[in-house]
Subunit: 335 residues, 2 copies
């Protein structure tokens, strides 16, 4: 019976589904409910992490300061986590998070850009705050590349390192291979964070645990943009049935999820056409609104745009490619 | 590249989610959309199958006759399927279905009661209508028992035989073992029909295909009671990516699913607490309303009732056990 540490980003990744509008009562209520269930880490923040509240990424309903102090106060035994993407977040935000008593900070970078996390990971170690590094869009790198980047992150000071299936592209075999390679390359816990675009979030998470992942993410009702994340209250009993221990109380966890469904979200995530297509294409689903927008104006099928972006290996931050692809598809159709 | 035949019970199993209230326009519209996508079999009927419209099982909005003639007329290349549970349906209903030009009839029986299907399977063979036999609540039988019952069904004339994960209890390994044993025991195609209580419907269906299943069920958006069925428009591309061919057009299938979400259901299925608990306990989720009802009156936790029903191996039709279990739990709590 191996132990798996559940990391719960409901109050951070879920924000994407509600344009970062979770208020104080929702944050406090869910944090208390997760704490009562014995969830080890409760992550909070703007969907894009510390310092990301802005016109471009969407203004959050409450400031980082208020989010952190609210959740800090609500937790008795659960640890508090935050997420940061270098660029959106800076050392100033990290300092603030540490001052608020954050227990775990995750620094996220594109899967081949670990060096961007170096300075932040080193800073966190100096502050004696637990530092994780997570590799985004991890289907775009081979198991060997991910193992190398994991080792680099550990060299910078990461005390856990892992992958996010940001596009929801993986099937269980893909996950097992990657987690296995990373677990063999580092001595720290390996993290897996799934998305449900292909209906595989729970199965992928179990495959991750079986391949050696020891920190696994899940959100209440899968709360998250598009198809959502791994459904936490399903993941936990399935892991337990598969032979892992989580230390979480099932009934209290089910209650927390009911609170989340009632108080956090208009409705639980649905796997719609563009979630499926972006998952198949391996494209970040956050491109959705811009793809829909440009496609409609040019009269091209947004599904074709996603598949073409996938062929070109577009990554988050390369939204400019959308207009190029739409223009080319539109020309081809007219030709 | 093995071929898998997709069987689509959206217009039958989905009825459970809307108290069997699908009307003519919805039936026609979805059947046309599935037909346009090249879905091989479109199943229609009351949720409990032919002849089940009644006060006890719920009255359907339209009669079997209207359902069958509507879908028959809407299909150009897809074949029409129906479902029947001996007891709800009789030979009279089978005769009617044959007269309406039904191409495939599925006779469903509890996983250890194949002999109940004998007469109906024989009758269908006499009528030269394709006859399938599906074993319900199949987690309650061992792979060896299922293989034996599959062989019996083929002896009675079944031209395909398979299992339904009626309680949504299986994990992929469970499915692979059972389908593998059945595929080794019979020369006809083996069927798998999943439910999503543990988030595993797609993963279980892929495991089934890999173990030799050649007919797999999926519903648009997973339309079905509680946690719903396997999401068809996710299943198809995932099967194709895994190396199986379905012959279905992905874009047209996505369009059919959007029609279904808009016109057939108030909202896509959500995996709530009692879906999870009934899946873990291995109890038919159709017990839900009675469990909630009796539990509320006696002041016991409905989740405890589901787990205790699971321990007692309650099967569909044994709803009387619910009151016994509730009374005993209530006494224990009071003692």
């Amino acid at each position: 019976m191996s132990a798996v540490v559940i990391h719960d980003p409901t109050l951070r990744d879920g924000q994407h589904a509600v344009r970062h509008q979770l208020g104080v009562a929702a944050l406090r209520g869910y944090a208390q409910a997760a704490d009562a269930a014995g969830v080890p880490v409760v992550e909070v923040g703007h969907g894009n992490g510390l310092g990301a509240s802005s016109l471009q990424a969407g203004r959050a309903a409450v400031s980082d300061d208020v989010m952190l102090s609210t959740v800090r106060e609500a937790l008795s035994t659960s640890r508090m986590g935050v997420f940061m993407l270098p660029g959106w977040g800076t050392s100033d935000e990290l300092r603030k998070a540490v001052a608020h008593g954050t227990d775990v900070v995750r620094v996220g970078v594109h899967c081949t850009e670990t060096s961007l996390a170096e300075r932040h990971l080193e800073f966190l170690r100096e502050q004696e705050t637990e530092a994780h590094c997570v590799l985004l869009m991890s289907h775009m790198a081979t198991p060997e590349e991910l193992a190398e980047h994991a080792a680099s992150a550990v060299g910078y000071g990461a005390q856990a390192v892992g992958i996010m299936d940001s596009a929801g592209h993986f099937l269980p075999g893909d996950v097992g291979e990657r987690i296995g390679a990373m677990a063999a390359a580092v001595d720290v816990p390996v993290i897996f964070h799934g998305h449900n675009n292909l209906g595989m979030a729970v199965a992928n998470s179990v495959a991750a645990a079986e391949a050696g992942a020891r920190i696994i993410d899940g959100c209440a009702r899968g709360f998250g943009a598009g198809a959502g994340n791994t459904q936490l209250e399903v993941l936990v009993p399935v892991l337990e049935r598969t032979g892992f221990t989580t230390g979480i109380d099932l009934y209290a966890l089910l209650d927390a999820a009911e609170f989340a469904e009632r108080e956090l979200m208009p409705a639980p995530p649905v796997t719609g056409s563009l979630s499926i297509v972006s998952g198949l294409a391996g494209v970040f689903s956050g491109f959705k609104h811009q793809v829909l927008d440009h496609s409609a104006r040019a009269g091209v099928d947004p599904r074709d745009v996603f598949f073409e972006l996938g062929r070109r290996q577009a990554i988050a931050g390369q939204e400019d490619l959308i207009r190029d692809v739409v223009a080319e598809l539109s020309e081809k159709a007219g030709a």
